[in-house]
Protein backbone atom coordinates (compact mmCIF):
# COMPACT_ATOMS: atom_id res chain seq x y z
CA UNK A 1 0.00 0.00 0.00
CA UNK A 2 1.13 3.49 -0.70
CA UNK A 3 2.38 5.89 1.91
CA UNK A 4 0.41 8.92 3.00
CA UNK A 5 1.92 12.03 1.39
CA UNK A 6 0.80 11.09 -2.12
CA UNK A 7 -2.83 10.68 -1.16
CA UNK A 8 -3.33 14.40 -0.75
CA UNK A 9 -4.77 15.02 -4.18
CA UNK A 10 -7.61 17.41 -3.57
CA UNK A 11 -5.85 20.61 -4.74
CA UNK A 12 -4.64 19.18 -8.05
CA UNK A 13 -6.47 19.53 -11.36
CA UNK A 14 -7.45 16.01 -12.43
CA UNK A 15 -5.84 14.64 -15.59
CA UNK A 16 -8.77 12.40 -16.38
CA UNK A 17 -12.32 12.99 -15.27
CA UNK A 18 -14.91 10.46 -16.31
CA UNK A 19 -18.49 11.23 -15.37
CA UNK A 20 -21.65 9.23 -15.79
CA UNK A 21 -20.03 7.03 -18.40
CA UNK A 22 -22.03 4.13 -19.77
CA UNK A 23 -21.66 1.70 -22.64
CA UNK A 24 -24.44 -0.35 -24.09
CA UNK A 25 -23.94 -3.00 -26.74
CA UNK A 26 -26.95 -3.60 -28.94
CA UNK A 27 -27.30 -6.80 -30.82
CA UNK A 28 -30.08 -7.89 -33.14
CA UNK A 29 -31.93 -10.94 -31.92
CA UNK A 30 -31.71 -13.63 -34.63
CA UNK A 31 -34.87 -14.06 -36.76
CA UNK A 32 -36.56 -11.11 -35.12
CA UNK A 33 -36.71 -7.35 -35.24
CA UNK A 34 -36.15 -7.06 -31.53
CA UNK A 35 -32.78 -5.92 -30.24
CA UNK A 36 -30.94 -7.17 -27.21
CA UNK A 37 -29.21 -4.44 -25.24
CA UNK A 38 -26.40 -5.35 -22.90
CA UNK A 39 -24.96 -2.81 -20.49
CA UNK A 40 -21.21 -3.34 -20.28
CA UNK A 41 -21.01 -0.70 -17.57
CA UNK A 42 -23.28 1.99 -16.26
CA UNK A 43 -22.90 5.44 -14.72
CA UNK A 44 -19.18 5.19 -14.08
CA UNK A 45 -17.42 8.22 -12.64
CA UNK A 46 -13.68 8.27 -12.04
CA UNK A 47 -10.95 10.81 -11.48
CA UNK A 48 -7.25 10.28 -12.09
CA UNK A 49 -4.78 12.91 -10.89
CA UNK A 50 -1.43 13.65 -12.52
CA UNK A 51 1.30 11.30 -11.39
CA UNK A 52 -1.17 9.05 -9.54
CA UNK A 53 -2.45 5.55 -9.96
CA UNK A 54 -6.09 4.60 -9.87
CA UNK A 55 -6.87 0.91 -9.86
CA UNK A 56 -10.17 -0.43 -11.12
CA UNK A 57 -10.76 -3.84 -9.62
CA UNK A 58 -13.52 -6.29 -10.40
CA UNK A 59 -14.25 -9.81 -11.50
CA UNK A 60 -14.19 -10.75 -15.18
CA UNK A 61 -17.34 -9.59 -16.93
CA UNK A 62 -17.66 -6.59 -14.63
CA UNK A 63 -17.11 -4.24 -17.60
CA UNK A 64 -13.53 -3.22 -16.82
CA UNK A 65 -12.09 -3.83 -20.26
CA UNK A 66 -14.98 -2.09 -22.03
CA UNK A 67 -14.34 0.86 -19.77
CA UNK A 68 -10.65 0.79 -20.73
CA UNK A 69 -11.54 0.75 -24.43
CA UNK A 70 -13.87 3.70 -24.05
CA UNK A 71 -11.33 5.77 -22.15
CA UNK A 72 -8.67 4.88 -24.76
CA UNK A 73 -11.13 6.22 -27.38
CA UNK A 74 -11.34 2.89 -29.14
CA UNK A 75 -15.08 2.81 -28.62
CA UNK A 76 -17.63 5.56 -28.20
CA UNK A 77 -19.41 5.48 -24.87
CA UNK A 78 -23.22 5.52 -24.98
CA UNK A 79 -23.62 8.10 -22.24
CA UNK A 80 -21.43 10.35 -20.12
CA UNK A 81 -18.32 12.42 -20.74
CA UNK A 82 -14.60 11.85 -20.71
CA UNK A 83 -12.49 14.89 -19.94
CA UNK A 84 -8.76 14.72 -20.46
CA UNK A 85 -6.81 17.66 -19.00
CA UNK A 86 -9.99 19.71 -19.11
CA UNK A 87 -10.93 18.85 -22.72
CA UNK A 88 -14.16 17.01 -23.40
CA UNK A 89 -13.15 14.25 -25.79
CA UNK A 90 -16.62 13.68 -27.22
CA UNK A 91 -16.74 17.27 -28.50
CA UNK A 92 -13.43 17.04 -30.36
CA UNK A 93 -13.12 17.13 -34.14
CA UNK A 94 -11.53 14.15 -35.87
CA UNK A 95 -8.29 16.00 -36.28
CA UNK A 96 -8.12 17.17 -32.68
CA UNK A 97 -8.98 13.68 -31.50
CA UNK A 98 -6.14 12.29 -33.60
CA UNK A 99 -3.55 14.40 -31.81
CA UNK A 100 -5.25 13.81 -28.47
CA UNK A 101 -4.58 10.09 -28.88
CA UNK A 102 -0.93 10.60 -28.01
CA UNK A 103 -2.01 11.51 -24.45
CA UNK A 104 -3.57 8.13 -23.66
CA UNK A 105 -1.84 4.81 -24.28
CA UNK A 106 -2.86 1.24 -23.58
CA UNK A 107 -0.88 -1.72 -22.33
CA UNK A 108 -2.52 -5.08 -22.78
CA UNK A 109 -2.70 -8.29 -20.86
CA UNK A 110 -1.05 -10.57 -23.39
CA UNK A 111 2.11 -8.96 -24.70
CA UNK A 112 2.56 -11.58 -27.43
CA UNK A 113 -0.64 -10.64 -29.23
CA UNK A 114 -0.17 -6.95 -28.44
CA UNK A 115 2.88 -6.74 -30.71
CA UNK A 116 2.81 -7.02 -34.48
CA UNK A 117 4.66 -10.32 -35.10
CA UNK A 118 6.01 -9.08 -38.42
CA UNK A 119 7.81 -6.03 -37.10
CA UNK A 120 11.15 -5.80 -35.30
CA UNK A 121 11.45 -4.37 -31.80
CA UNK A 122 12.75 -1.09 -33.18
CA UNK A 123 9.91 -0.82 -35.69
CA UNK A 124 7.32 -1.62 -33.03
CA UNK A 125 8.46 1.23 -30.80
CA UNK A 126 8.69 3.63 -33.74
CA UNK A 127 5.21 2.58 -35.04
CA UNK A 128 3.19 5.16 -33.04
CA UNK A 129 5.62 7.87 -34.16
CA UNK A 130 5.11 6.82 -37.78
CA UNK A 131 1.33 6.84 -37.36
CA UNK A 132 1.39 10.28 -35.76
CA UNK A 133 3.84 11.48 -38.42
CA UNK A 134 6.52 12.46 -35.99
CA UNK A 135 10.23 12.92 -36.83
CA UNK A 136 12.43 11.49 -39.55
CA UNK A 137 13.43 7.87 -39.83
CA UNK A 138 16.70 8.39 -38.00
CA UNK A 139 15.07 10.47 -35.27
CA UNK A 140 12.48 7.78 -34.71
CA UNK A 141 15.17 5.13 -34.54
CA UNK A 142 17.15 7.15 -32.00
CA UNK A 143 14.00 7.56 -29.92
CA UNK A 144 13.29 3.82 -30.11
CA UNK A 145 16.79 2.93 -28.96
CA UNK A 146 16.56 5.42 -26.11
CA UNK A 147 13.21 3.94 -25.02
CA UNK A 148 14.56 0.40 -25.17
CA UNK A 149 17.25 1.42 -22.75
CA UNK A 150 14.70 3.12 -20.49
CA UNK A 151 12.55 0.01 -20.16
CA UNK A 152 15.54 -2.26 -19.62
CA UNK A 153 15.85 -3.82 -23.07
CA UNK A 154 19.26 -4.11 -24.72
CA UNK A 155 19.25 -1.68 -27.70
CA UNK A 156 21.26 -4.33 -29.57
CA UNK A 157 17.96 -6.27 -29.80
CA UNK A 158 16.56 -3.59 -32.07
CA UNK A 159 16.20 -6.07 -34.93
CA UNK A 160 14.69 -8.90 -32.89
CA UNK A 161 11.07 -9.82 -33.45
CA UNK A 162 8.52 -10.36 -30.63
CA UNK A 163 8.74 -14.15 -30.96
CA UNK A 164 12.42 -14.06 -30.12
CA UNK A 165 11.75 -12.30 -26.81
CA UNK A 166 10.52 -13.70 -23.49
CA UNK A 167 7.15 -12.73 -21.98
CA UNK A 168 8.68 -10.15 -19.65
CA UNK A 169 10.77 -8.66 -22.45
CA UNK A 170 7.69 -8.42 -24.67
CA UNK A 171 5.83 -6.53 -21.97
CA UNK A 172 8.80 -4.17 -21.67
CA UNK A 173 8.66 -3.66 -25.42
CA UNK A 174 4.92 -2.90 -25.19
CA UNK A 175 5.65 -0.37 -22.46
CA UNK A 176 8.36 1.25 -24.57
CA UNK A 177 5.89 1.55 -27.45
CA UNK A 178 3.30 3.09 -25.15
CA UNK A 179 5.85 5.68 -24.00
CA UNK A 180 6.96 6.63 -27.51
CA UNK A 181 4.49 9.48 -27.93
CA UNK A 182 5.07 10.87 -24.46
CA UNK A 183 1.59 10.16 -23.06
CA UNK A 184 0.33 11.43 -19.72
CA UNK A 185 -2.05 8.56 -19.04
CA UNK A 186 -1.26 4.86 -19.35
CA UNK A 187 -4.12 2.39 -19.17
CA UNK A 188 -2.81 -0.93 -17.90
CA UNK A 189 -5.44 -3.46 -18.91
CA UNK A 190 -4.50 -6.49 -16.80
CA UNK A 191 -0.96 -5.68 -17.87
CA UNK A 192 0.65 -7.83 -15.20
CA UNK A 193 -1.76 -10.76 -15.19
CA UNK A 194 -0.03 -12.83 -17.84
CA UNK A 195 3.42 -12.59 -16.26
CA UNK A 196 5.04 -14.90 -13.74
CA UNK A 197 5.58 -13.64 -10.20
CA UNK A 198 9.22 -12.61 -10.73
CA UNK A 199 8.36 -10.66 -13.87
CA UNK A 200 5.34 -9.08 -12.20
CA UNK A 201 7.62 -7.62 -9.54
CA UNK A 202 10.16 -6.42 -12.12
CA UNK A 203 7.57 -4.80 -14.38
CA UNK A 204 5.83 -3.25 -11.39
CA UNK A 205 9.15 -1.76 -10.33
CA UNK A 206 9.76 -0.47 -13.86
CA UNK A 207 6.30 1.11 -13.99
CA UNK A 208 6.84 2.82 -10.63
CA UNK A 209 10.18 4.21 -11.81
CA UNK A 210 8.68 5.41 -15.08
CA UNK A 211 5.83 7.04 -13.21
CA UNK A 212 8.26 9.04 -11.11
CA UNK A 213 10.47 9.93 -14.07
CA UNK A 214 7.72 11.04 -16.48
CA UNK A 215 4.99 12.14 -14.06
CA UNK A 216 2.73 9.46 -15.58
CA UNK A 217 -0.76 8.68 -14.41
CA UNK A 218 -1.87 5.09 -14.43
CA UNK A 219 -5.32 3.64 -14.74
CA UNK A 220 -4.68 0.09 -13.67
CA UNK A 221 -7.40 -2.36 -14.54
CA UNK A 222 -7.17 -5.72 -12.84
CA UNK A 223 -9.05 -8.52 -11.19
CA UNK A 224 -6.25 -8.96 -8.66
CA UNK A 225 -6.69 -6.69 -5.65
CA UNK A 226 -3.48 -7.89 -4.02
CA UNK A 227 -1.44 -6.92 -7.07
CA UNK A 228 -2.91 -3.44 -7.51
CA UNK A 229 -2.74 -2.64 -3.81
CA UNK A 230 1.05 -2.64 -4.18
CA UNK A 231 1.13 0.60 -6.07
CA UNK A 232 -2.31 2.11 -6.47
CA UNK A 233 -3.09 5.36 -4.69
CA UNK A 234 -6.79 4.79 -5.02
CA UNK A 235 -8.96 1.82 -5.79
CA UNK A 236 -12.34 1.76 -7.47
CA UNK A 237 -14.22 -1.51 -7.08
CA UNK A 238 -16.38 -2.46 -10.01
CA UNK A 239 -19.21 -4.93 -9.68
CA UNK A 240 -21.77 -5.83 -12.34
CA UNK A 241 -20.99 -2.79 -14.47
CA UNK A 242 -21.01 -0.21 -11.67
CA UNK A 243 -18.43 1.32 -9.41
CA UNK A 244 -19.60 0.24 -5.98
CA UNK A 245 -16.83 1.74 -3.91
CA UNK A 246 -13.99 4.16 -4.59
CA UNK A 247 -11.47 5.39 -2.02
CA UNK A 248 -7.78 5.50 -1.19
CA UNK A 249 -6.11 2.11 -1.05
CA UNK A 250 -5.39 2.48 2.65
CA UNK A 251 -8.99 3.36 3.48
CA UNK A 252 -10.34 0.58 1.35
CA UNK A 253 -8.29 -1.99 3.20
CA UNK A 254 -9.12 -0.42 6.55
CA UNK A 255 -12.86 0.06 6.11
CA UNK A 256 -14.47 -1.71 3.18
CA UNK A 257 -18.14 -0.81 2.81
CA UNK A 258 -19.64 -2.85 -0.02
CA UNK A 259 -20.12 -6.57 0.51
CA UNK A 260 -18.27 -7.39 -2.72
CA UNK A 261 -15.25 -5.38 -1.56
CA UNK A 262 -15.25 -7.33 1.68
CA UNK A 263 -15.32 -10.56 -0.25
CA UNK A 264 -12.37 -9.43 -2.35
CA UNK A 265 -10.40 -8.42 0.72
CA UNK A 266 -11.22 -11.64 2.50
CA UNK A 267 -9.84 -13.64 -0.42
CA UNK A 268 -6.64 -11.55 -0.42
CA UNK A 269 -6.23 -12.08 3.30
CA UNK A 270 -6.84 -15.79 3.08
CA UNK A 271 -4.14 -16.08 0.38
CA UNK A 272 -1.81 -14.07 2.57
CA UNK A 273 -2.51 -16.16 5.63
CA UNK A 274 -1.90 -19.36 3.69
CA UNK A 275 1.43 -17.98 2.51
CA UNK A 276 2.25 -16.83 6.01
CA UNK A 277 1.42 -20.22 7.54
CA UNK A 278 3.56 -21.96 4.95
CA UNK A 279 6.56 -19.76 5.55
CA UNK A 280 6.21 -20.11 9.32
Amino acid sequence: MNPGPRSNSSQLEPLLRVSGLGKQYVRRRPFSRANIAVDAFHDVSLTVFPGRTLAVVGESGAGKSSLARCIALLERPTTGTIELAGTNLAALSRKALFSMRREVQLIFQDPSSALNPRLTAGEIIAEPLVIQGEGTNSQRRARALQLMEQVGLDPAWERKRPLELSGGQRQRLAIARALALGPHLLILDEALSNLDAANQTLILKLLTELQAAHALSFLHISHDLRLVSEFADEVAVMYEGRIVESKSTRNLFASPEHSYTRELLASVRSVESILFERSA
Binding site: R69, A72, L73, L74, L97, F98, S99, R101, R102, V104, Q105, L106, F108, Q109, D110, S113, A114, L115, N116, P117, R118, E127, P128, I131, Q132, R161, L163, E164, A174, R177, L181
Partner: protein, 320 residues
Protein backbone atom coordinates in the same frame (compact mmCIF):
# COMPACT_ATOMS: atom_id res chain seq x y z
CA UNK B 1 17.19 -22.84 -47.31
CA UNK B 2 17.02 -26.15 -45.46
CA UNK B 3 13.28 -25.69 -45.16
CA UNK B 4 12.83 -25.49 -48.92
CA UNK B 5 15.18 -28.41 -49.58
CA UNK B 6 13.21 -30.51 -47.11
CA UNK B 7 9.96 -29.61 -48.82
CA UNK B 8 11.45 -30.53 -52.18
CA UNK B 9 12.61 -33.99 -51.07
CA UNK B 10 9.24 -34.48 -49.41
CA UNK B 11 7.46 -33.70 -52.69
CA UNK B 12 9.66 -36.08 -54.69
CA UNK B 13 8.93 -38.90 -52.25
CA UNK B 14 5.24 -38.13 -52.44
CA UNK B 15 5.24 -38.40 -56.23
CA UNK B 16 7.07 -41.71 -56.00
CA UNK B 17 4.45 -43.03 -53.56
CA UNK B 18 1.62 -41.84 -55.79
CA UNK B 19 3.09 -43.73 -58.76
CA UNK B 20 3.29 -47.00 -56.78
CA UNK B 21 -0.19 -46.48 -55.44
CA UNK B 22 -1.85 -45.76 -58.77
CA UNK B 23 -0.08 -48.71 -60.36
CA UNK B 24 -1.24 -51.04 -57.60
CA UNK B 25 -4.82 -49.77 -57.60
CA UNK B 26 -5.16 -50.23 -61.33
CA UNK B 27 -3.97 -53.79 -60.91
CA UNK B 28 -6.80 -54.42 -58.43
CA UNK B 29 -9.43 -53.63 -61.06
CA UNK B 30 -10.51 -56.76 -62.94
CA UNK B 31 -9.43 -57.16 -66.56
CA UNK B 32 -7.14 -55.05 -68.73
CA UNK B 33 -7.24 -53.16 -72.01
CA UNK B 34 -7.44 -56.41 -74.02
CA UNK B 35 -10.29 -57.98 -72.03
CA UNK B 36 -13.00 -56.64 -74.40
CA UNK B 37 -11.04 -57.99 -77.38
CA UNK B 38 -10.65 -61.40 -75.81
CA UNK B 39 -14.44 -61.61 -75.58
CA UNK B 40 -14.66 -61.30 -79.34
CA UNK B 41 -15.02 -64.87 -80.75
CA UNK B 42 -13.36 -63.83 -84.02
CA UNK B 43 -10.04 -63.12 -82.29
CA UNK B 44 -8.13 -66.15 -81.10
CA UNK B 45 -6.87 -66.48 -77.55
CA UNK B 46 -3.39 -66.79 -78.99
CA UNK B 47 -3.58 -63.37 -80.63
CA UNK B 48 -4.77 -61.76 -77.41
CA UNK B 49 -1.99 -63.48 -75.45
CA UNK B 50 0.63 -62.29 -77.89
CA UNK B 51 -0.78 -58.74 -77.73
CA UNK B 52 -0.57 -58.91 -73.94
CA UNK B 53 3.01 -60.11 -74.01
CA UNK B 54 3.89 -57.50 -76.64
CA UNK B 55 2.77 -54.74 -74.26
CA UNK B 56 4.27 -56.51 -71.26
CA UNK B 57 0.91 -57.03 -69.57
CA UNK B 58 1.70 -60.70 -68.89
CA UNK B 59 4.54 -59.80 -66.55
CA UNK B 60 4.00 -59.49 -62.78
CA UNK B 61 3.25 -56.04 -61.33
CA UNK B 62 6.64 -55.28 -59.70
CA UNK B 63 8.45 -56.06 -62.97
CA UNK B 64 6.10 -53.81 -64.93
CA UNK B 65 6.45 -51.08 -62.37
CA UNK B 66 10.22 -51.28 -62.50
CA UNK B 67 10.16 -51.21 -66.28
CA UNK B 68 7.82 -48.20 -66.24
CA UNK B 69 9.93 -46.34 -63.66
CA UNK B 70 13.09 -46.86 -65.72
CA UNK B 71 11.50 -45.48 -68.85
CA UNK B 72 9.96 -42.54 -66.95
CA UNK B 73 13.42 -41.60 -65.75
CA UNK B 74 14.42 -41.53 -69.42
CA UNK B 75 11.44 -39.30 -70.15
CA UNK B 76 9.30 -42.01 -71.74
CA UNK B 77 5.89 -42.44 -70.12
CA UNK B 78 4.88 -45.52 -72.08
CA UNK B 79 2.36 -45.99 -74.85
CA UNK B 80 -1.37 -45.45 -74.95
CA UNK B 81 -3.11 -48.65 -76.04
CA UNK B 82 -6.16 -46.74 -77.20
CA UNK B 83 -4.42 -44.03 -79.21
CA UNK B 84 -1.39 -46.09 -80.20
CA UNK B 85 0.87 -43.12 -79.48
CA UNK B 86 3.36 -42.32 -76.73
CA UNK B 87 1.67 -41.00 -73.58
CA UNK B 88 3.91 -37.97 -73.03
CA UNK B 89 2.87 -35.80 -76.03
CA UNK B 90 -0.76 -36.83 -75.51
CA UNK B 91 -0.62 -35.64 -71.92
CA UNK B 92 1.37 -32.51 -72.75
CA UNK B 93 -1.42 -31.02 -74.86
CA UNK B 94 -4.08 -31.87 -72.27
CA UNK B 95 -1.91 -30.58 -69.43
CA UNK B 96 -1.46 -27.28 -71.23
CA UNK B 97 -5.24 -26.92 -71.60
CA UNK B 98 -5.89 -27.84 -67.98
CA UNK B 99 -3.22 -25.44 -66.80
CA UNK B 100 -4.71 -22.65 -68.88
CA UNK B 101 -8.12 -23.26 -67.34
CA UNK B 102 -7.07 -23.78 -63.72
CA UNK B 103 -4.42 -21.06 -63.83
CA UNK B 104 -6.91 -18.49 -65.11
CA UNK B 105 -9.54 -19.58 -62.59
CA UNK B 106 -7.08 -19.60 -59.70
CA UNK B 107 -5.95 -16.09 -60.51
CA UNK B 108 -9.52 -14.83 -60.89
CA UNK B 109 -10.73 -16.57 -57.72
CA UNK B 110 -7.99 -15.04 -55.56
CA UNK B 111 -8.27 -11.64 -57.19
CA UNK B 112 -11.93 -11.69 -56.15
CA UNK B 113 -11.56 -13.46 -52.81
CA UNK B 114 -9.02 -11.07 -51.28
CA UNK B 115 -10.91 -7.80 -51.78
CA UNK B 116 -14.29 -9.41 -50.98
CA UNK B 117 -12.92 -11.07 -47.85
CA UNK B 118 -11.25 -7.87 -46.63
CA UNK B 119 -14.35 -5.87 -47.41
CA UNK B 120 -16.70 -8.13 -45.48
CA UNK B 121 -14.26 -8.33 -42.56
CA UNK B 122 -14.19 -4.54 -42.48
CA UNK B 123 -18.01 -4.44 -42.57
CA UNK B 124 -18.50 -7.28 -40.14
CA UNK B 125 -22.04 -7.64 -38.85
CA UNK B 126 -23.40 -4.99 -41.20
CA UNK B 127 -26.10 -5.93 -43.69
CA UNK B 128 -23.61 -5.96 -46.58
CA UNK B 129 -21.45 -8.53 -44.81
CA UNK B 130 -24.53 -10.64 -44.03
CA UNK B 131 -25.69 -10.48 -47.63
CA UNK B 132 -22.24 -11.62 -48.72
CA UNK B 133 -22.44 -14.44 -46.18
CA UNK B 134 -25.76 -15.60 -47.58
CA UNK B 135 -24.39 -15.59 -51.14
CA UNK B 136 -21.25 -17.53 -50.24
CA UNK B 137 -23.08 -20.10 -48.12
CA UNK B 138 -25.71 -20.64 -50.82
CA UNK B 139 -22.94 -21.20 -53.34
CA UNK B 140 -21.27 -23.61 -50.91
CA UNK B 141 -24.40 -25.72 -50.64
CA UNK B 142 -24.80 -26.11 -54.41
CA UNK B 143 -23.00 -29.28 -55.52
CA UNK B 144 -20.33 -28.56 -58.16
CA UNK B 145 -22.03 -30.88 -60.63
CA UNK B 146 -25.32 -28.99 -60.39
CA UNK B 147 -23.50 -25.71 -60.78
CA UNK B 148 -21.67 -26.87 -63.90
CA UNK B 149 -24.82 -28.39 -65.39
CA UNK B 150 -26.61 -25.09 -64.79
CA UNK B 151 -23.85 -23.28 -66.68
CA UNK B 152 -24.16 -25.80 -69.51
CA UNK B 153 -27.90 -25.22 -69.56
CA UNK B 154 -27.28 -21.48 -69.70
CA UNK B 155 -24.97 -21.91 -72.68
CA UNK B 156 -27.39 -24.19 -74.50
CA UNK B 157 -30.50 -22.08 -73.84
CA UNK B 158 -29.05 -18.66 -74.56
CA UNK B 159 -26.51 -19.54 -77.22
CA UNK B 160 -24.29 -16.77 -75.86
CA UNK B 161 -21.46 -19.11 -75.09
CA UNK B 162 -19.99 -22.12 -76.86
CA UNK B 163 -21.08 -25.37 -75.17
CA UNK B 164 -17.71 -27.04 -75.33
CA UNK B 165 -14.23 -27.27 -76.78
CA UNK B 166 -11.62 -24.57 -76.59
CA UNK B 167 -11.63 -23.12 -80.08
CA UNK B 168 -14.03 -22.54 -82.96
CA UNK B 169 -13.89 -24.42 -86.26
CA UNK B 170 -11.96 -21.76 -88.21
CA UNK B 171 -9.52 -21.03 -85.40
CA UNK B 172 -6.35 -21.40 -87.50
CA UNK B 173 -7.48 -18.74 -89.98
CA UNK B 174 -8.04 -16.10 -87.30
CA UNK B 175 -5.67 -13.23 -86.53
CA UNK B 176 -3.76 -13.28 -83.23
CA UNK B 177 -6.29 -10.99 -81.57
CA UNK B 178 -9.11 -13.08 -82.99
CA UNK B 179 -7.52 -16.25 -81.65
CA UNK B 180 -7.17 -14.76 -78.17
CA UNK B 181 -10.79 -13.62 -78.27
CA UNK B 182 -12.02 -17.00 -79.46
CA UNK B 183 -10.07 -18.78 -76.76
CA UNK B 184 -11.34 -16.37 -74.11
CA UNK B 185 -14.97 -16.98 -75.12
CA UNK B 186 -14.48 -20.73 -74.86
CA UNK B 187 -12.64 -20.35 -71.57
CA UNK B 188 -15.26 -18.10 -70.01
CA UNK B 189 -17.83 -20.66 -68.91
CA UNK B 190 -15.55 -23.40 -67.54
CA UNK B 191 -13.48 -20.74 -65.75
CA UNK B 192 -16.64 -19.17 -64.32
CA UNK B 193 -17.71 -22.60 -63.08
CA UNK B 194 -14.38 -23.20 -61.37
CA UNK B 195 -14.33 -19.72 -59.83
CA UNK B 196 -17.87 -20.10 -58.47
CA UNK B 197 -17.03 -23.54 -57.10
CA UNK B 198 -13.86 -22.47 -55.29
CA UNK B 199 -14.54 -18.83 -54.40
CA UNK B 200 -16.89 -19.19 -51.37
CA UNK B 201 -14.47 -20.98 -49.04
CA UNK B 202 -11.68 -18.60 -50.08
CA UNK B 203 -13.76 -15.51 -49.31
CA UNK B 204 -14.75 -16.97 -45.96
CA UNK B 205 -11.18 -17.81 -45.05
CA UNK B 206 -9.90 -14.38 -46.03
CA UNK B 207 -12.71 -12.83 -44.01
CA UNK B 208 -12.12 -14.89 -40.88
CA UNK B 209 -8.33 -14.53 -41.06
CA UNK B 210 -8.74 -10.77 -41.33
CA UNK B 211 -11.27 -10.60 -38.50
CA UNK B 212 -8.98 -12.57 -36.24
CA UNK B 213 -6.13 -10.16 -36.85
CA UNK B 214 -8.35 -7.08 -36.67
CA UNK B 215 -9.34 -8.07 -33.16
CA UNK B 216 -5.76 -8.67 -32.05
CA UNK B 217 -4.53 -6.26 -29.38
CA UNK B 218 -1.69 -5.02 -31.58
CA UNK B 219 -4.24 -3.71 -34.06
CA UNK B 220 -6.13 -2.14 -31.18
CA UNK B 221 -2.90 -0.51 -30.07
CA UNK B 222 -2.35 0.88 -33.57
CA UNK B 223 -5.91 2.20 -33.55
CA UNK B 224 -5.28 3.83 -30.19
CA UNK B 225 -2.36 5.58 -31.89
CA UNK B 226 -4.80 6.96 -34.42
CA UNK B 227 -4.01 4.85 -37.47
CA UNK B 228 -6.42 5.34 -40.40
CA UNK B 229 -8.71 2.37 -41.05
CA UNK B 230 -7.55 1.72 -44.62
CA UNK B 231 -4.00 1.46 -43.38
CA UNK B 232 -5.04 -0.89 -40.59
CA UNK B 233 -6.57 -3.21 -43.16
CA UNK B 234 -3.88 -3.25 -45.79
CA UNK B 235 -0.63 -2.51 -43.97
CA UNK B 236 -1.23 -4.09 -40.56
CA UNK B 237 -3.85 -6.79 -40.75
CA UNK B 238 -3.35 -8.20 -44.23
CA UNK B 239 0.37 -9.08 -43.93
CA UNK B 240 -0.29 -10.85 -40.61
CA UNK B 241 -3.38 -12.59 -41.96
CA UNK B 242 -1.45 -13.66 -45.05
CA UNK B 243 0.20 -16.73 -43.52
CA UNK B 244 -2.82 -19.02 -43.25
CA UNK B 245 -3.97 -17.67 -46.61
CA UNK B 246 -0.74 -18.63 -48.32
CA UNK B 247 -1.14 -22.15 -46.99
CA UNK B 248 -4.73 -22.03 -48.22
CA UNK B 249 -3.40 -21.01 -51.63
CA UNK B 250 -1.72 -24.43 -51.86
CA UNK B 251 -4.99 -26.14 -50.93
CA UNK B 252 -6.93 -24.01 -53.36
CA UNK B 253 -4.77 -25.36 -56.17
CA UNK B 254 -5.80 -28.86 -55.09
CA UNK B 255 -9.46 -27.91 -54.93
CA UNK B 256 -9.20 -26.23 -58.32
CA UNK B 257 -7.62 -29.32 -59.89
CA UNK B 258 -10.20 -31.75 -58.59
CA UNK B 259 -13.04 -29.44 -59.57
CA UNK B 260 -11.43 -28.99 -62.99
CA UNK B 261 -11.78 -32.72 -63.75
CA UNK B 262 -15.53 -32.37 -63.38
CA UNK B 263 -15.90 -29.05 -65.16
CA UNK B 264 -13.85 -30.37 -68.07
CA UNK B 265 -16.16 -33.35 -68.34
CA UNK B 266 -19.40 -31.38 -68.16
CA UNK B 267 -18.38 -28.45 -70.32
CA UNK B 268 -16.17 -30.52 -72.65
CA UNK B 269 -12.93 -28.65 -72.06
CA UNK B 270 -10.20 -30.80 -73.66
CA UNK B 271 -8.05 -31.08 -70.53
CA UNK B 272 -6.62 -33.95 -68.51
CA UNK B 273 -10.03 -34.76 -66.97
CA UNK B 274 -11.87 -36.26 -69.95
CA UNK B 275 -8.67 -38.02 -71.04
CA UNK B 276 -8.30 -39.60 -67.60
CA UNK B 277 -11.91 -40.76 -67.45
CA UNK B 278 -11.75 -42.31 -70.93
CA UNK B 279 -8.46 -44.00 -70.06
CA UNK B 280 -9.84 -45.41 -66.81
CA UNK B 281 -12.89 -46.83 -68.59
CA UNK B 282 -10.68 -48.35 -71.29
CA UNK B 283 -8.04 -49.53 -68.75
CA UNK B 284 -5.43 -47.66 -70.75
CA UNK B 285 -2.95 -48.15 -67.90
CA UNK B 286 -0.08 -45.87 -68.83
CA UNK B 287 -2.35 -42.97 -69.71
CA UNK B 288 -4.10 -43.33 -66.35
CA UNK B 289 -0.86 -43.51 -64.41
CA UNK B 290 0.56 -40.65 -66.47
CA UNK B 291 -2.50 -38.46 -65.92
CA UNK B 292 -2.59 -39.23 -62.20
CA UNK B 293 1.12 -38.44 -61.97
CA UNK B 294 0.57 -35.21 -63.82
CA UNK B 295 -2.25 -34.13 -61.51
CA UNK B 296 -0.12 -35.01 -58.49
CA UNK B 297 2.76 -33.07 -59.99
CA UNK B 298 0.54 -29.99 -60.35
CA UNK B 299 -0.63 -30.42 -56.79
CA UNK B 300 2.84 -30.89 -55.37
CA UNK B 301 4.11 -27.96 -57.42
CA UNK B 302 1.26 -25.83 -56.09
CA UNK B 303 2.12 -26.71 -52.51
CA UNK B 304 5.80 -26.05 -53.20
CA UNK B 305 4.88 -22.62 -54.52
CA UNK B 306 2.89 -21.98 -51.34
CA UNK B 307 5.82 -23.14 -49.21
CA UNK B 308 8.22 -20.94 -51.13
CA UNK B 309 5.87 -17.96 -50.73
CA UNK B 310 5.56 -18.64 -47.02
CA UNK B 311 9.32 -18.84 -46.79
CA UNK B 312 9.69 -15.56 -48.62
CA UNK B 313 7.08 -13.67 -46.61
CA UNK B 314 7.34 -15.03 -43.08
CA UNK B 315 10.47 -14.08 -41.16
CA UNK B 316 9.64 -16.68 -38.52
CA UNK B 317 10.22 -19.58 -40.92
CA UNK B 318 13.44 -18.08 -42.21
CA UNK B 319 14.94 -17.80 -38.75
CA UNK B 320 14.48 -21.52 -38.06
Amino acid sequence: MRYLAQRFVHSALLLFAVSIFSFAILQLAPGDFFTPISLNPQISAHTVASLRSQYGLDKPLPVRYEHWLRSVLRGDFGISFAYGTPVAPLLAVRARNTLLLTGTSLLLAWLLAIPFGIWSAAHRGKWSDRAGGIVTSSLLTVPDLVLFLALLLLAVRTGWFPTGGMMSAGFDDLSVAGKVKDLAIHLLLPALGLVLATLPPLVRHVRSAMIEVLEAPFVRAARAHGIPESRVLLRYALPVAANPLITLFGYSIAAMLSASLLVEMVLSWPGVGPLLVDAILAKDVYVVVGAVMLSSLFLVAGNLVADALLFATDPRIRTD
